[in-house]
């Protein structure tokens, strides 16, 4: 298929449809409302389900109900909305249902602002709801990558029977870039009849299915949590995704950065190369699981003196980087999170302080 020029938010909506997800529930919030506006029209054309819920809380349970009934389903929101959905996300993870949540991050805390941010890193990767669960978190750095990740997210959610989160930022949602859609991932190959409450007649069974997250017996709950843990361990083995830049040089500084911020870092790396300063970058594409080994290996390169976490937050991903680097190199932080994306010049200036 030919490339088309699309706004990130609209491309995300189209990607879900191309991935065979024809069910969307959402609540408007800046800077991602264009997804709902796009799908309000588009779902009609493909005979899909579009519903504007009364709140993000309700939407998260519409997602839960639809997923438990065996449907591919997704929603999109932005930071304060994701906080409200976090109750439902915990239940969905606890009940082992697949679903895709897209967070087009804006500044926080509280109402914060409506401009791009990466301040929900910890919420997405470490929790966001109560209880012992993880989301598989993917972080796109372009509109094309957002499309690809949304399309990959559905089979991944079904593989693990766990929610997958696409963690973008306001810039990914708002900018226009050329994109191409593949039609490869349309079929849901997972065995939903074994667990979904899709009706006994529908699956030709006299055995009922039960979707729940309640385990009053302590040993049963412990076993349930061990089952969940095994899935998260499997994700760490099988789903780590990352990209590198300028990594084959004898770089003095290693940048770790993701999403929109990593694109600014690429420009800064190119500019520094012209001055004769080599800087390498590891760009995590999955934030959970985090590319721990790859970051460690890149940090341990002989030429590398320091590692820099460059993020549009006050230092959230740096905790994962420090954990990965295990004290073998100093890890520094640079970032902003008021809504202005740091410029290549600001990144360059910061990297120079580490040389």
């Amino acid at each position: 298929m030919a490339k088309v020029l699309m706004k990130g938010n609209e491309a995300i909506g189209e990607a879900a449809i191309r991935a065979g997800c024809l069910n969307y529930f959402a609540y408007p919030i800046t800077p991602q409302s264009e997804v709902a506006e796009y799908l309000a029209r588009r779902m009609k054309e493909v005979d899909g389900v579009f519903l504007q819920g009364e709140s993000e809380v309700a939407v998260s349970y519409m997602i839960f109900g639809a997923s438990a009934a065996g449907a591919r389903v997704f929603t999109t929101s932005s930071s304060p909305g994701i906080s409200l959905m976090s109750e439902g996300i915990s239940y969905i993870a606890g009940a082992q249902c697949p679903a895709v949540f897209v967070n087009i991050m804006r500044g926080g805390p509280g109402l914060g602002g409506i401009l791009p941010s990466q301040a929900d890193y910890l919420q997405a990767t470490k929790g966001g709801g109560h209880g012992d669960f993880r989301l598989l978190v993917m972080a796109p750095a372009s509109v094309q990558e957002a499309v690809t990740m949304v399309m990959q997210a559905f089979p991944l959610a079904e593989k693990y029977r766990n929610p997958v989160m696409i963690l973008g930022d306001g810039l990914i949602g708002q900018m226009m870039e050329p994109v191409e859609f593949s039609d490869d991932l349309k079929t849901d190959a997972s065995d939903k009849d074994s667990w979904a409450t899709n009706g006994m007649d529908h699956r030709g069974s006299s055995q009922r299915n039960l979707v729940k997250s309640l385990f009053l017996d302590p040993e049963a709950l412990n076993q349930h949590n061990l089952t969940l843990k095994a899935k998260y361990d499997q994700m760490k083995q099988e789903e780590v995704r990352f990209d590198t830049y300028n990594i084959d040089t004898d770089y003095q500084v290693l940048i770790v950065s993701y999403g929109t911020m990593s694109r600014v870092c690429r420009t800064a790396i190119d500019n520094m190369k012209k001055e004769g300063v080599e800087v390498g970058m590891v760009r995590p594409q999955t934030l959970f699981p985090f590319p721990e080994e790859q970051v460690l290996a890149a940090a341990e390169k002989k030429s590398c003196k320091a590692v820099a976490s460059i993020e549009m937050s006050m230092g959230q991903m740096i905790e994962d980087i420090q954990r990965s680097v295990q004290g073998k190199r100093p890890v520094h932080w640079y970032g902003k999170c008021g809504g202005d994306v740091p410029t290549p010049e600001e990144v360059t200036e910061f990297v120079h302080t580490l040389l």
Binding site: V49, F64, N198, L210, K212
Partner: protein, 247 residues
């Protein structure tokens, strides 16, 4: 001569955890009988609330989902929107539906979602140990209104059937009781009618059932029935509040 009275096949053999004199067992049975009579168990999904009926899924034999507190109507919406052929009902108490879940029930009803809500109103939080509910009666003593519900402080009990019937969207909204055999016979009829409206994809349906909680009211089952008749029925009149035909 064969058996004249048997357990509905939609009810499981599990012994319930409900207290002696509790009306949940009666209501479970009525729902199960209706589902059997309509022969829809193979395409029914029930949604259990948070509250005394949180384990309701153990007592039915068809597909069940368990909701978070108050969110059952949103889950039912999700199911019906993606699988309109499934018969979906939520089973909710007064704390679940009329307090934490008021937003979800009002909006589901107003959208005219084609599912059925069984709303069990016993004027108290049961599972958490007898706290005041939005439907607790004026001056009713509970663990969080130890001097009686002070309506100047916390307002009057919410009349859910009337509130939802006030919405402009067509619906079937009815209040019955499960206090006396005559109520129970009528309750079954309206539950069946609610499911029939759903089968016809006609409208949202809600059956409010005036019930008792002898344990948390501190009364014997017999006295609890009398208390409900004397105190709840005058404030919560029984009857059909709205039918889709009348809209």
């Amino acid at each position: 001569m064969g058996k004249t009275f048997t357990k509905p096949k939609s009810l499981s053999d599990q012994i319930t955890h409900y207290c002696p004199g509790c009306t949940h067992g009666v209501i479970h049975r009525l729902v199960a009988e209706v589902i059997d009579e309509l022969d829809i168990s193979g395409r029914t999904v029930g949604i259990a609330p948070v509250g005394c009926a949180v384990l309701a899924y153990n007592y039915f034999t068809f597909d069940f989902q368990e909701a978070a507190h108050g969110r059952a109507p949103a889950m039912a919406t999700g199911i019906k929107r993606v699988r309109p052929d499934l018969m979906v009902f939520t089973y909710q108490g007064d704390g679940d539906l009329a307090s934490i879940g008021m937003g979800e029930i009002i909006h589901a009803a107003n959208r005219g979602e084609k599912f059925t809500t069984i709303f069990v109103n016993n004027a108290i939080y049961g599972m958490t140990g007898g706290q005041m509910a939005p439907t607790s009666m004026p001056n009713q003593r509970t663990t969080t209104s130890p001097f009686g519900r002070d309506v100047d402080d916390v307002g009057m009990p919410i009349k859910v059937a009337e509130l939802i019937a006030a919405l402009q969207t067509p619906a079937y909204i009815v209040r019955q009781a499960v206090l006396k055999p005559k109520h129970i016979v009528k309750a079954k009829k309206v539950i069946k009618r609610a499911f029939q409206y759903q089968m016809e994809a006609r409208c949202f349906s809600l059956v409010e059932l005036i019930s008792t909680c002898p344990t948390n009211w501190g009364l014997t089952p017999v006295d609890a029935v009398k208390w409900a008749e004397d105190n709840m029925l005058p404030y919560y009149p029984l009857g059909e509040y709205k039918t889709p035909e009348a809209a």
